[in-house]
Structures are given as structure tokens and as C-alpha cells.
């Protein structure tokens, strides 16, 4: 399923490496290990990757797989979010046997409790859990800073390597460069029609989440230098904002973009919310990292909902969208609760909005396609 080429978009030389990286991510990670390095998996965008980088390990987000989660289903009832379910399933299948460790965090009820499943059923040499306050206050910032210190000490103890300030500063620089480059890439979609498609943009971000940022930065620089001469830009279509929790493969966006949609911006943890905020490059690096991660654009499990909605509205304006689609993973409580309010915010901007609940295994895809197609036709009709 993952290897189906994108219809209507020929793979140009500056774009295909991202997709290749994404598709071969497990081999890339194993190759990294072949060079004597460590690979640490993480599950939530509040994990301070810079610390893992500074410990000379490769941080990779654990993704699910696009298949039926037979192995995880033995342990989990039906009414559980299919994303962490699929990640757990991948681990049970052995897709992540190369991991030297896995870092979880208190991000949502589904993931808090599925971490128990990892502890009991996945053999992994090192597990760590980061407590994330669910609101931003001065005391919460202090508490989170202590959690970051604890994480650093744990990495140092486990891997016998000091995480120095110099290494942290270097990591901050590499990561910030990546964030700035991704913003530039996103801005290519402000053009009409956009210079890169939504599918391409998603694959660019995802490939960076599972590969070395140094490598990714090289590819991004190359892309940005060459892309304006692109011979085969996307055709464009109804300019869409897509919102949700995570999107770890491009299948859904492919559907959207084959039925006349043009995804020009997102609001999810594997998109703009992942890279939008920078770490301060001055002052104590650990404090700067702690501050950035707790105070970044909030995910829906944070109490600061208005800021989250504010970001969505800001993105909708900046990218001049014509409509929005809210993709909510079934049984993702925080997003299900946010949906009615988010829909109101979008409607208040005069944007038509479609709410879709989906399963990570993409069951019911044909029906979703019909609904998306009808929605896009409706938006076109209004214009």
C-alpha cells in the first residue's frame, strides 16, 4: 500500500529522497545502528529529541503500520485509539526490534495506559516515561524542567555518556535549522497553486521525524534551492486545512488530493505542531528545551485549548484556505471533545468544514472517499 506512487505527481529528484527515506525508515535506522550508534523511539511530540541527539543517539518517532492490528487486538479491546494500537502492534510484530530504548510520556489516556502494554509485552532494553503537565503555569514549567533533568540523568546512566551543554547547544542548532527549513517548505504552499502538494509536504515532515536531522537538513536545502524550477508542480484544487492528532502515512491525503482537494496546511502533531516553535538559542540549553516543549503550540490534551484553536485559525489565514477537514481518530477523546468547538471556530471564519472519524487501518476508506469528494464538490459549488 505504501509504495503506490502518487497519482498525477511525478517523483522529481529533489522530492523522491524524502519519500524513499520514509519508506525505508527501518533500514535507515538499522544502518545507523550498523555504525555503532543507538536508536531511541519516542511516541509524543512533547519528547525533547534534542536530549537524545545530544546523547549521540538517533531519535525516531514510533509509527504504526497500515495493516490490521492482529497482534495488538489480543491485548486491547475495540474501543481504543487505533494509532497507539497500531504502534504497539508494530512493536509486537518486531518492526522495532532495533530500538535501544523507547520514551513514552503522559500525553493522553490512551497512550498512558498503552505504555503498560509496552512494559509487559514488548522486549526493549530501556524504557523511560516523561510526565508532561497538562497546563502551562510557572510551577508546571519548573516541574517539567525537573522532568527534563531526570530524563537527561536517565540517558546518561543507561548509556554511560554525558549529555554535555555543548552537545545540547549543537542539537538545538541542528533542530532549529530543521524547523526553519520546514517552515520555508510549508510556505511554498502559500503560492497558488502550491509548489508542493499536501502529500509531498507530509512525507517531507514524516521523513524528518524518523531520520537524522543533519541528513534531512541537507535534503531540505537542496529541495528549497531547486523547487522553484519544478517542471511538474501540483495542479492545485480546493485549498484545504487538515486538522487532527497525528498522521503517520500519506494514504488519506492522497485520497483528498485525488478528488480535487489541495492540502495546503495542517494542524497536527506530525505537521505544523511538530516544528512551528523554536528553542531559544541563548541561555541554559536545558531550560530552553524544557520551555520550548511545554510552551509550544498545544496539543489537544493540554488545557490551553484557546491557543490550540488560535493556531488553527492562524494557519487557515496564513495559507488562505477555502475549507477545512477535521480528521479525528476514533476513540481519541481529547480531539473528539475539541471537534464541536473547532468546527465552530472554522465556521466563524466562513470556512466549510467536514468532520471525519477514521481508523488507522483505513477501514471504510471507500466511504470516506465518497464523503470527501462530496464535500469538495460542495465547496466548489459554493464558489
Amino acid at each position: 500500500m505504501e509504495t503506490t506512487p502518487v497519482e498525477g505527481v511525478s517523483a522529481m529528484s529533489v522530492l523522491s529522497p524524502f519519500r524513499d527515506l520514509l519508506l525505508t525508515r527501518h533500514d535507515v535506522a538499522k544502518g545507523w545502528k550498523g555504525k555503532g550508534k543507538r536508536v531511541i523511539g519516542w511516541s509524543c511530540s512533547y519528547t525533547p529529541e534534542e536530549l537524545i541527539h545530544a546523547a549521540d543517539a538517533l531519535p525516531v518517532m514510533v509509527f504504526g503500520n497500515p495493516e490490521i492490528t492482529k497482534l495488538a487486538d489480543v491485548h486491547l479491546p475495540v474501543n481504543i485509539c487505533s494509532f497507539p494500537r497500531s504502534c504497539f502492534d508494530s512493536a509486537l510484530k518486531g518492526d522495532y526490534n532495533y530500538l535501544d530504548g523507547f520514551v513514552a510520556s503522559s500525553s493522553c489516556d490512551n497512550r498512558d495506559k498503552i505504555f503498560d502494554m509496552w512494559r509487559y509485552h514488548v522486549k526493549i532494553p530501556y524504557l523511560h516515561f516523561i510526565n508532561i503537565p497538562h497546563m502551562i503555569t510557572e510551577r508546571a514549567n519548573n516541574f517539567f524542567y525537573e522532568e527534563i533533568l531526570r530524563f537527561k540523568a536517565s540517558l546518561e546512566k543507561t548509556f554511560g555518556r554525558i549529555v554535555s551543554d555543548a552537545a545540547l547547544k549543537k542539537a538545538i542548532q541542528v533542530y532549529n535549522e530543521n524547523r526553519l527549513l520546514l517552515k520555508e517548505v510549508y510556505d511554498l504552499r502559500r503560492k497558488k497553486p502550491p509548489l508542493i502538494s499536501g502529500v509531498e509536504a507530509l512525507e517531507i515532515v514524516l521523513s524528518g521525524i524518523v531520520t537524522s536531522k543533519e541528513e534531512h537538513n541537507k535534503l531540505l536545502n537542496h529541495l528549497l534551492a531547486e523547487v522553484s524550477d519544478r517542471a511538474d508542480p501540483p495542479e492545485g484544487g480546493v485549498r484545504l486545512l487538515v486538522s487532527g492528532s497525528v498522521m503517520d502515512n500519506s494514504e488519506l491525503l492522497k485520497i483528498v488530493e485525488t478528488v480535487g482537494g489541495s492540502v495546503v496546511v495542517d494542524d497536527w502533531c506530525t505537521g505544523s505542531r511538530y516544528f512551528w516553535d523554536l528553542v531559544d538559542s541563548y541561555g541554559d540549553p536545558l531550560r530552553a528545551i524544557a520551555k520550548r516543549y511545554l510552551n509550544k503550540i498545544p496539543s489537544s490534551f493540554m488545557f490551553q485549548s484557546e491557543e490550540r484553536f488560535g493556531h488553527t485559525v492562524k494557519m487557515a489565514k496564513r495559507f488562505d484556505v477555502e475549507a477545512a477537514i477535521i480528521f479525528v481518530l476514533k476513540f481519541c477523546d481529547t480531539h473528539m471533545f475539541d471537534a464541536p468547538q473547532l468546527m465552530e471556530e472554522m465556521k466563524a471564519m466562513g470556512l466549510p468544514v467536514l468532520y471525519l472519524e477514521w481508523e488507522h487501518s483505513l477501514s471504510g476508506l471507500a466511504q470516506m472517499k465518497t464523503r470527501i469528494e462530496a464535500f469538495i464538490e460542495m465547496v466548489k459549488g459554493v464558489e
Binding site: 491485548h75 479491546p77 495506559k113 503537565p133 471533545f337
Partner: protein
Amino acid sequence: MAETKPERRLQTLRGFYKKYVKKFYEDAHKTKAEGKPVAWVASTFPVEMLLAMDIFPVWPENYASLCAARQVSVKLCEVAESKGFSKDICSYARCVIGSLFQKEADLPERGMPKPDFLFASTCACDTHFKWFQFVSRHFKVPLFLLDVPYNISGADSEHLEKAHIEFYVSRLEELIEFLEKQIGTKLDKNRLREITDISDRTSKLWMEIQDYRKTIPTPMDARDAFSAVFFMLSIPGTQMAVDFYEKLRDEVRERAENKFGIIENEKYRLIWDNLPLWFDLKFFEYLNSLDAVVVAETFSHVWMGRLDPSKPLESLAKKYLPNFANCSVDRKIDLIESLLRDFRADGAILPTNWGCRMMSIGETIVKEKIDKSLGVPSLIIDVDSSDWRSYNETQVKKNIEIFLQILKEKKQEG
């Protein structure tokens, strides 16, 4: 087959709804009408703090369970769904959100009085505060979130991480600031100590009551416990709670001493995890009709943390942080293992809950663990607390009967 005959039910629990629950809501409406502050509070929020500030606490979760028992919860859930809420979210939340759009006269007990404040904690789940955020926008009233650390090690009150206690206490200090600003009076520290002391006595009495249920045959069943736990959850720091539990303790003690069981022919002693089917509390009588009786519920054992009135804030942290909703599954396993041993139970029933991740994930681990460590069989049933649309009664009851047959065979072997 021994049916529970009416005379076997506990006297203290007779007319409980009318005497206590109905009166509780009447008092809440009266308080509101007198212009005194009323708050909506989510479970695991340290209500002792609110009682010390003379705020009347009302519990949306209790209200939802009441609506379920009165068979109107599904109708209310459907109203929430028509407002854009998914049918997969917590049925407590849907039920209460639905009630916001109904006329007072059409609701059981005229609904909950309009809140002046909302209080939630992350201690039990994210759903609490997401749900209350909607209520806060709806009524335009402030919501205070007591954000607490997740107790990943599953530590009990004596082994909590210092940083977790400190963070909890610092949040309580912020709560005091919030309350003082909103109410316009200072927190009376003596009053807080007094409330903490009463709440502690309530916990102690509740523990005593549970202890008597270890007797064979057990003098008290889940049906009674799920009613009586009302005070532990809602108003543990009140004299009314103490008086009630003293009466209940005396009756349960007397029955335990006389070996007078809640059912005539007690054959299978069971532990019940998570919530009951509030819309079908007769489920426990159905178990009784099969000579089975629930001798302990995990739910009854998470609210009885002891409190030290000389250190109210710290002891509130110690009471609430180890609530198993806020812990790794290890804590629940420890609790269920000790209940199985101490109450000499033959099996455990592990209900999941359609709208609740906290109660649905981990039951498979519990099942495996207690089978391995104690050789005790258990049964996972897929149910919901307030929405019967996701409950397959025939299937569940068939599984219960097979399960009891397994227990029977095990007893014969053993």
C-alpha cells in the same frame, strides 16, 4: 437457587435514594436559590478543599449514573450526539452535556443547579477537563484544573515521589488563591483541618465496613456498596457521611458476627473491577440468583486514603495521587491480588467501559497476572456505565454463566 429475599437487604440502605440522593439534589437547588456558591466537581478532585470554603459540590458523574438508573441517560446522550459529540466519548459526559439542553422540569431531580465554578483534575482522566471545558464555555463560568503528575511507578501513598507530592501541593496552593479570589474570603485553616479530620473518619469507617465484607458469608453486596459509596465520593468531609457510615458499619458488623449473609446460599465470591452498569443495578441480583456475590469492588477501595489533619495539603496529595486511574496497571494488579486474597474470592469480573480508555486498557494484563500469581480465573466483559446501546446483555450473561461453571468445576477439583 437462592434469590435475594427482600428481608436480607441491609436496613440502612433502604430508601437510600429518597433519603439521601434526592435530598442531596434538593439541598443543592436550595443552596443555589439562596445565592450560595455551587460547584460542579469531577471525581478525584479533592473536594475537602471546597467544603472548607463552604462551596456546595455537585457531581456530574453521580448525576449521570442517576440518569442511567432512571433510564433516561441514553436519551440525553443522543442530545449530546446531535450537538456534534461523538458517541464514543464517555457516556457520563454525553449524558450531562445532553442535560444542558433540556428543560429543568424534564430532568430527574430538576437537573443539576447551574454552577458558579467548575473543578476538575487530570488525576482520573483527560475526559474530565475536556468535558468541563465545554461546560465552562456553555455557562461562561470559570474552570479550575488541578493538573497532577501521572503516577507511573504505581506508588502507594507511602512511596510517592517527592516531586509529585510537591507539585500537587503547589497546585493546591494555587487552588487556594483561586478560591479566595473568587469567594472573597480567606481559607480558614482550622476549618480545613476540621474537614480533613471528618473526611479521615469517613475513610476509616468505610474501611471498617469493607473489612466486615471479608466474612463468609459476606454481609454486604456490590449493589449496596455502589449506593453507599455515594458519600465517600461526594461529601466525605461531612458529619452526615460519618453518621450514615456509623449506622451502616453497625449493621454490617452485626450481620458479620451473626454470619447472616446477604444471600442465603453463597457459593461464588467475586471481585468486581471498575464501574457497575448503572442502568442495570439489578445485574448484581442476577449474580445473586446464581449463588454468586460480589464481596469487594476496586471502586470501593480507591477512595479511602487516610488523611492527617495536621498536614491537610500533603495528605490530600497522598490520598488522591495513588488512585489507580492515575497509575500504571501495576497498582491495580496489587489491589486486585490483595482483594482476592483478603476476601477469599473465587474469581474476578473485569468490566471494560465503552467510553473510557482508563478502564478499558489493561484488563488483559490484570487477567493474565492474577491467573499466574494466584491461579484465580477472571472474566472480561465489555459494557458501559450509562449507555446501554453498546451492551449486549444476552452475550454478557451467557459469558457469566460459563464463567461460574468454570468456578464450580475448579471448586470441585480443588
